[in-house]
Subunit: 388 residues, 2 copies
């Protein structure tokens, strides 16, 4: 069991009508709020009005239009707004993209250079002071509501990079499952794949982390149980609530406590998103089973067999390689049952950039060195070809 | 799924050699430290010297001799020391009793009246400002290292009461599994029963908390798997590490997220400890199976059957009442296999105070009103008689 630090002080307000507690929390940070949101779904759902009404004692500056796969241009714009308007606290109302954008803005405000320089140098100390960020979550997916990470895209340079810092952890997140009732089936499915991916990225590591492994399996079983229900019955509170809490617990450190980090599939998927701007969860659903098949070996088979038994309930008496392959097959079938497109071909993606994408992943991440199964650019190209 | 708030910002430093990070964390609070510890086992193990050495840049005031079931007298003494020596931060090195004592001291420092008044009025706003508390944990048991509660005893009035406040949450807890290598078998067993009790107290509640239930089962399975190993091989790092992390996760809010609180067995056990000063975990191990048998009914049987299947791996096709009873029997057998005395008779306890104990429990807790199965004083006496 590896050493680890776990420090996640986000104040989670979970359940019905929790929005009303938010003003009390935010008041301690100040009165000037940058309200960050996406494409307008929160206006259609009425949430925008509820938020505005809850914060009627605050001065609110709007920053709408945050993109899926949020762009560095929006981060620049938000940071400039914060400086110009002397913003005290950011409130992100939306999903992972909106929250990530708010987090990056909260740090970029205090960064002297360009926001993209900050992203490129995040691991080298570019992130320091930040403005406090609160969130109102509208989709169960990225877990950004309870972690200290953000992913920002630069479509000019075709890069999608992750910044991580304890100061990026939201101060408070309002998790009202009812705010996810209006999430369409397609996004519910992609979000569910994203939650599962966060767990699967770290699950296939150490052998001596029994408790952490059981918790990983708990999150996976929850998504497997409730994603189909939420898609079938979008207003099923229990399903939406369990998925929402699964989203937060999947990536806040609980599922990799004592385990070496991995994230191979995320690194590969980030290349796909950077080149083709695809939905993150869909990219992960396509890449993950192929990655699993590629790294299955004498060294990894026991863990994949455990995955088949503990997550999918398969027969432990089956020969272990067969069992491992059955587990991977179950995962692929599950994603397919949620109507997720399961090949890159279905997204119109061909292989013309695979070589440069693979090289970029190896150059900019630990995929070639510290991963569960380290991958060369050639390995990554092979996995991507299997995804076609 | 009930509404809940989850906000647990304790900085957990888990693993080998983590003590060296503590001075950096503590320095932000000041230089004057009240070092709180128990009966001297940390001197025998060498931990006391390691702590002193790590904190050589700090001014340290010792408060040793904290009792198991810590007394209000020690809280008074500690609070007086803090005032007299202008203490900035408390460091509790020990188990739950030591940590609970430090937490109570941290609040009593700022309370104008007597410390026992503060305990009695904790739920009515008596706890406000506190000094920061850090901990170095030496036994996997109470989870006090990562929660905002403390239990203090008054042997004069025969009362053992819980105080709860967010400000009692430790700022930082050092969890080095090796510090539990020297915990004797008897205490390892009692601590394991305590961890399991924390989960079982909340497990038998709501039906729609799938993820939380899976996490409860994860913690229970971890203790069932590793407690016998830790007793057989006291220096098995993996066993000690998994038990230690289970201790922290059992009671930090994760296992009751979305569930109504219960704690019936703790309320009954607190009466036993207050009258007879018994080991908390032992009292819980005795009371819990008898409480389970007493509350088993048409209303509760499904959950007890799920407990039998998901925690103990029993056959789901068995008739559900039989299954429920088999699960309870498994639990009792497990505690017995750890050499825990499983009757009050073995502790020399007779029934002479049961009536007043039962009345006190109903008067001072929610056991008669908001529990999973509300109990009258007569019910409690019946359960206690079954424990004889």
């Amino acid at each position: 069991m590896d050493n680890f630090e776990f420090c996640v002080g986000t104040d989670i307000l979970f359940g019905k009508g929790q929005l009303e507690k938010l003003p009390g929390v935010m008041a301690q940070y100040g009165k000037k709020v940058l309200l960050v949101y996406g494409g307008g779904s929160i206006k259609r759902s009425g949430l925008y009005d509820r938020v505005k009404n809850a914060l009627k004692e605050f001065e609110i500056v709007d920053l709408g239009g945050v993109e899926p796969n949020p762009r560095v241009e929006t981060v620049r714009k938000g940071a400039a707004l914060c400086r110009e308007k002397n913003i005290d606290v950011l409130l992100a109302v939306g999903g992972g993209s909106t929250i990530d954008c708010a987090k990056a803005i909260s740090a970029a405000v205090f960064y002297e250079g360009d926001a993209w320089d900050m992203v490129l140098n995040a691991a080298k100390g570019a992130i320091g002071k930040t403005l406090p960020v609160c969130t109102v979550l509208t989709i169960a997916a990225t877990g950004s509501e309870m972690d200290g990470a953000a992913v920002i895209s630069n479509m000019e340079t075709k890069e999608k990079l992750t910044i991580i810092h304890p100061n990026l952890l939201p101060k408070c997140s309002v998790l009202e499952p009812e705010n996810t009732f209006s999430v369409p089936a397609r996004q519910t499915a992609a979000g569910s794949a994203d939650i599962m991916s966060h767990v699967m990225e770290v699950y296939f590591g150490a052998e001596d982390t029994f408790l952490t492994d059981c918790i990983c399996e708990s999150v996976l079983k929850t998504v497997i149980h409730y994603a189909p229900i939420a898609i079938r019955e979008p207003e099923n509170y229990t399903a939406r609530a369990n998925l929402m809490w699964a989203s937060s617990l999947a990536i806040n450190g609980l599922c990799n406590a004592g385990k070496a980090h991995d994230w191979s599939c995320h690194y590969i998927e980030h290349e796909l998103s950077a080149y083709y701007d695809i939905t993150h969860g869909v990219g992960l659903a396509i890449v993950t089973p192929q990655w699993m098949r590629y790294v299955l070996s004498d060294k990894t088979v026991d863990k994949f067999a455990a995955f088949a038994v503990n997550v999918w309930g398969l027969d432990p008496h089956t020969e272990k390689f067969t069992l491992a392959r059955q587990g991977i097959e179950k995962l692929e079938q599950f994603f397919r049952s949620l109507d997720i497109p399961m090949t890159l071909g279905e997204l119109g993606i061909k292989d013309e950039h695979f070589v440069e994408m693979a090289k970029h992943a190896v150059d900019f991440t630990g995929i070639g060195s510290i991963s569960y199964v380290p991958l060369t650019p050639e390995d990554i190209v092979k996995i991507l070809r299997e995804c076609l």
